[in-house]
């Protein structure tokens, strides 16, 4: 691998969103997760997304543009990336990339923002059968390691996916308060998961990113489509049937609505991702919503 995974994440951030947006994202992250103290650090330019109450009005009056006060963080945030690495995540997503690329891009972006902010980033990954936890550190190299672990663990012949296993692990093993970034497979959330979320939400702050599945009724007819779970090949003529397509679209719509309703009920901010190109915008919107929700 010539480029590291983190480089890709960064390049996406730079190329796709330009420097101003990067600041914007950082500001967004900071305003969401910045643990405030009374120790004033320095001033910096205001970027949209910053807390209005952080604006130093006096300094702003002397200066031409709004300035924001920065404080020395009293404590570091702990970001835990919770990534499903079951074989479901090795399948294709809406854009045609493997879902794990989108997962790595999303987890990498949030992890990078956290690391830049001086927070610690850890990882809990696993399948239906096993869970692996990586320790929390604040270095870029560590983040790269975590992303590589996700990337290499997610394979087509791996175990099946079940995020409940990882969430249960966290319920059992984590005492600290964390920020959880959950990168989930595109599945119906069952009552067991709902219960886990209820318990986790009490203790932690949760951001939920669902990596969308490719629509089998939209995959081109020249390609055969099979399910990674059991390698069952979907008959091309059947999956391309317009009536089946319409019914599937309706059922997906219903499922997304149900999932959204469930997460909303639990007060969990969530977003859906179907392409690594959408990661920056979606994560930004997610953080934005998170900031507003915390008020």
């Amino acid at each position: 691998m010539t480029t590291t995974l983190l480089t890709r994440v960064k390049s996406k951030l730079f190329v796709h969103a330009r420097r101003r947006s990067r600041n914007l994202l950082e500001g967004e992250y900071a305003s969401v997760f910045h643990g405030r103290s009374l120790d004033y650090d320095d001033l910096r330019d205001y970027v949209p997304g910053d807390e209005v109450r952080d604006i130093d009005w006096r300094a702003t009056a002397r200066h031409q543009s709004p300035l924001v006060k920065r404080y020395v963080a009293t404590r570091k945030q702990n970001l835990m990336l919770v990534v499903d690495t079951g074989r479901g995540m090795a399948a294709t997503t809406r854009s045609g990339e493997p879902k794990k690329s989108v997962a790595v891009a999303a987890a990498g972006l949030v992890g990078y923002l956290a690391q830049r902010h001086g927070d610690l980033v850890g990882l809990v990954r696993g399948t239906a059968g096993s869970t692996v936890a990586h320790e929390m550190r604040g270095s870029e190299a560590h983040l790269e390691l975590l992303l590589r672990a996700v990337d290499s663990a997610t394979v087509l012949d791996g175990d099946q996916s079940n995020l409940a296993t990882q969430l249960r692990w966290i319920v059992r093993h984590v005492r600290r308060r964390l920020v959880l970034l959950v990168v989930a497979d595109d599945k119906e959330l069952d009552p067991e998961l709902d219960e886990l979320l209820r318990r986790l939400h009490v203790q932690h702050e949760i951001l939920w990113i669902t990596v969308e599945d490719a629509d089998p009724t939209a995959v081109d007819g020249s390609r055969t489509t099979y399910d990674v779970a059991d390698t069952y090949t979907l008959p091309t003529l059947v999956r391309l049937d317009p009536r089946v397509r319409a019914a599937y679209a309706a059922s997906v719509r219903d499922r997304v609505e149900r999932t959204s309703a469930l997460l909303d009920r639990r007060g969990i901010n969530h977003a859906r991702l179907g392409s690594s190109d959408e990661v920056v915008a979606t994560v930004f919107a997610l953080l934005e919503r998170q900031r507003r929700a915390r008020r």
Partner: protein
Amino acid sequence: MELNGPDLKWPGVLVVGALLALALAYAVYRLMSRRQARASAAVANSGALTELPEYRRALRRHRIRMAVLAASAALLGGAALVGAARPLDTTVDKPQSRSRDIMLCLDISGSMAAYDATLVSTFKTLVKSFEGERIGLVIFNSSAATVFPLTDDYDFINEELDAAGRALTGDPAYDSFFAGTFNGRGTSLIGDGLATCVSSFDKVDLQRARSVVFATDNHLAGRPIIDLGEAAALARTKGVRVYGLNPEEDGPDQEAADMRTIVTSTGGRYFAMSDQSAIKDIVGSVEAQEATLIDSASRSLHSDDPTLPITLAGIGLVGVIGATRRWAS
């Protein structure tokens, strides 16, 4: 005549065709699986799709369609192969002239002229009662002439008897019917007539049931070469039974009595024409004789019989077209 199952002219075509079909199927399978390996998309959680009732319905339709397509293609291919192998309808024809020879012997002398037409129709009734027997007709006056020799072609027999009937009712168009019956001395040479009839049987060295239905009034008017007694003796030596059929216009006279004696001496029977049961009795006693089969050499007749394969291939083709057609949905 017996019918065998359909034979094939070129059975090798089946083998070659089946092998080719197998090779083709394998090649297609390889091609498809290679294509599939090259361009396949892995998706997750397709259960959300496969559990939809619409999907299940479409899948069921798809499977039925595929099954129909496969069956039709197999039917089409198989039928085409069988057709290409040229099925033959083999008929083993074993011509057997069953049974018995019956010579109808009709006196057409002037004294009989009034009765001949009736006798011919009696013969026709008689012929109807037989099946498979060979029948011939000899007419005689001063000399005897064979109208048709022994044959089992009943259409022909009936035709000839119709013609005889018309000739005997005086139709001038049929005058030639009587040709060859006036070559003797006098008329109504009954002994000569019977002798001719008796001699008309073929395959003399074969043991067969031979009968003569001898229709005459036994009124001799001339000098026969062979008298009736000698003719009867000839019949006896040849094992021919003579059944007498006498119009008896003068009632049971001396001639009738003579005739009865002579006829009976050959093992046959005597009937007056008025006797209602005459025909039934003649048929009965002829059939009572043991029938002998004449076996001819059996021969096989081959004819192309593509009807079934073509029909099946047509059905298969309809199925293939129906299953591959994109029905408006």
